[in-house]
Amino acid sequence: MLVRVSSLALSLLLIGGCAANHSPVLGSGNISYGDPKAVELVTNEFGSTDLQMIAESMTRSLAQSGVLKGRPVVQVYDVRNKTSEYIDTRDITTSIKTQLMRSGTARFASDNTDMQSQVDHLKLQNQSGLYKKSTVAKTGNMIAARYRLEGSISSIVKRSNDYKDVFYTFSLQLIDVESGLADWMDEKEIRKTTER
């Protein structure tokens, strides 16, 4: 009897011991969440810190410039990637757009990639006969952009036996659609060097 009780108690203790994890974590300890704002120096290719620095620098320069008075409508065009690397430049423009939206300085028209979805949806509402007439969005009321925002990123890469140096230049300009004049322009330079 004593042996049975002892073995039961021991089993319960062991089970209890195994389950003594008070943190709300599931899975192995090899994976962890890091600081998304940390300086990333894993390789010297274009990385998260470069994206964040460019978006922050451009957004703040534009917002504070005073050009965007009265929350004008802006259409964002893709940033041309003139580097030899694959860079999803859409990430840069989306980040700039998000930060400008948060600052409350601009409104955004459907950009070139979203335009088809916008037109399709307007057609669907107006031509399919599926929707209640009073709730249908009318055509001819889309707001035209006053400015377009476009830019480019380029790089100069130099290699020697001891070093690899990458120099990025990101430039962005805000162009008045009616006049065709660039009302604001800025650039951000980033140098990344790897010593082998």
């Binding site: 704002k37 940390a38 964040q52 620095m53 917002a63 504070q64």
Partner: protein, 119 residues
Amino acid sequence: MGLKCFVVIALALLAGCATPLPTAASKVMATGPIESLAIGPMRMARENGFLTVNTQLSNTDTDNRTLYYRYLWLGPEGFPVVEAESWKSLTLYAEQTSFLPAIAPVPQAVDFRLEINTP
């Protein structure tokens, strides 16, 4: 006499408008000991509705130093009005003095803190 009065009034007005330079101690948040780095005057102004800040930093070492920094933007109650910005890396040459300019991301920011890490 008229000119003298004008100068006195203009000086008084200018003195009234100028934002007193904040002291480094009240604005800097160090994540660890700050070594071989002198934090100089800080300038705070409002331009086109956005708070702008500039901080003077000097490397007191005879070697180049890399430091990491970021600004935190605070509202009137002293709490952040936006999420913290990304950390940035800055290399200061031996005994070099440089400046860290920044613009608040939202007009609601009325104060700031400079977070510094010297590895």
